[in-house]
């Protein structure tokens, strides 16, 4: 577990260093290329504003009204017996459906419980470790006109469930409850 922490800490700086050296070796105009690519980051951040505003307002209403706590308290006893924090369930449900909606929910969980709380870490891991099954399914199959999806949805959702369980186990092992 100690090693994973070290990897987490070193991974990004080493990767950045490697890419910059490799680019220089291959005679890439590094700075100009960086600026070109960076412009896309601005577009990306701005384009998710409406997604996050819509979802975070809805969650705020749901939370402030007391409905969220009511629902979470309802499912808490059963889930806590198996070590699953009930607060994470809404995120687990929405993650396969909409990536940006899940991002709003992750932000809300991190803001409410703190980024270094168990729930904050779990939400972070969950958000980063699975992708939006319905999005990939609709966009990829829709774009090329596949109408009969076969087992695709089942396989995708079961894989999401596996990722969800893996995230809980890994975060529990690494950081404890």
């Amino acid at each position: 577990m100690q090693m994973i922490s070290v990897i987490s800490l070193w991974f990004i700086p080493v990767l950045i260093g490697f890419i910059l050296l490799y680019g220089t070796m291959k005679k890439v105009p590094t700075y100009e290329t960086f600026v070109e690519g960076g412009k896309e980051g601005i577009k990306m951040a701005v384009s998710i504003i409406p997604f996050l505003v819509g979802m975070m307002v809805a969650i705020s209403i749901f939370r402030a009204s007391g409905a969220l706590d009511y629902m979470v308290d309802l499912i808490r006893p059963g889930l806590e017996k198996v070590g699953i924090p009930a607060d994470i369930i809404p995120l687990a449900i929405i993650r396969p459906i909409s990536g940006n909606a899940a991002l709003g929910m992750t932000s809300d969980l991190i803001a409410t419980h703190g980024p270094d709380s168990f729930i904050g870490r779990l939400a972070s891991t969950l958000q980063g470790s699975t992708d939006t099954t319905f999005y990939v399914l609709t966009v990829y199959f829709g774009a090329v006109g596949i109408k009969k999806m076969g087992d695709a949805l089942k396989v995708g959702l079961l894989a999401d469930l596996a990722g969800f369980i893996a995230a809980i186990v890994v975060v529990t092992l690494m950081f404890g409850m």
Binding site: I48, V53, I59, S65, Q127, V155, A162
Partner: protein
């Protein structure tokens, strides 16, 4: 589906507030929620700009291409229907590499291209082929090296160690990818035994 969840959360919240007498808190929540979302997105710009800039260098330097060559033999095993040297394999690999480095926007067009080629291999039918389902399964559990957006959110909310989730995320994502492949294989053999 997301439409129903979105409207459902809002309406249930409003009704709950009416019954519970929490309308004042809800009023505040509407404006605070919107404000928080915008503040968050502005905060995301910093990391997204930096990371996409660095990744563009990796792309132009041919690093992604190199990596996909490295993984080619392994991935080819997962797609026995795709003939070696077929353009579909190239698109599948570049899609995976783009996902690996968190370039979601670059990954989508490559994924669609891959699907197009897979459909050609399948004789242009409108049914999902075995390879398509495998490709989809791997994609939905996409292996991510660095969850950039999540790190940015953690920084925004003053995490003491914003990147500490890189390791756990990588492990969880690898497990879910392996699970995806196993689940996909299981369903494939079940199908082929039936028919």
């Amino acid at each position: 589906m997301v439409n129903y969840i979105w409207v459902g959360m809002t309406i249930i919240g409003l009704v709950f507030a009416a019954v519970n007498g929490t309308m004042e808190a809800v009023n505040e929540a509407i404006f605070k929620g919107a404000q928080e979302a915008v503040t968050l997105c502005i905060g995301l710009i910093s990391i997204l700009v930096f990371w996409l800039g660095i990744m563009r260098i990796a792309e132009v330097a041919g690093l992604l291409e190199k990596l996909s060559n490295l993984f080619r033999p392994l991935i080819a095993k997962l797609f026995p229907e795709v003939p070696s040297g077929h353009p579909a394999m190239g698109y599948i690999l570049s899609n995976m590499m783009a996902n690996l480095f968190g370039l979601g926007n670059a990954a989508t067009p490559l994924g669609i291209k891959a699907m197009e080629e897979l459909r050609k291999i399948n004789g242009g039918k409108d049914t999902a082929s075995r390879s398509m389902i495998t490709f989809l399964a791997i994609n939905t559990s996409s292996i991510t090296l660095i969850p950039t957006t999540v790190i940015a959110i953690r920084i925004t909310y003053d995490s003491a160690a914003p990147t500490e989730i890189v390791g756990p995320t990588l492990i969880a994502t690898i497990i879910s990818a392996i699970a995806a492949i196993l689940i996909d294989r299981y369903f494939y053999y079940r199908r082929s035994r039936k028919g």
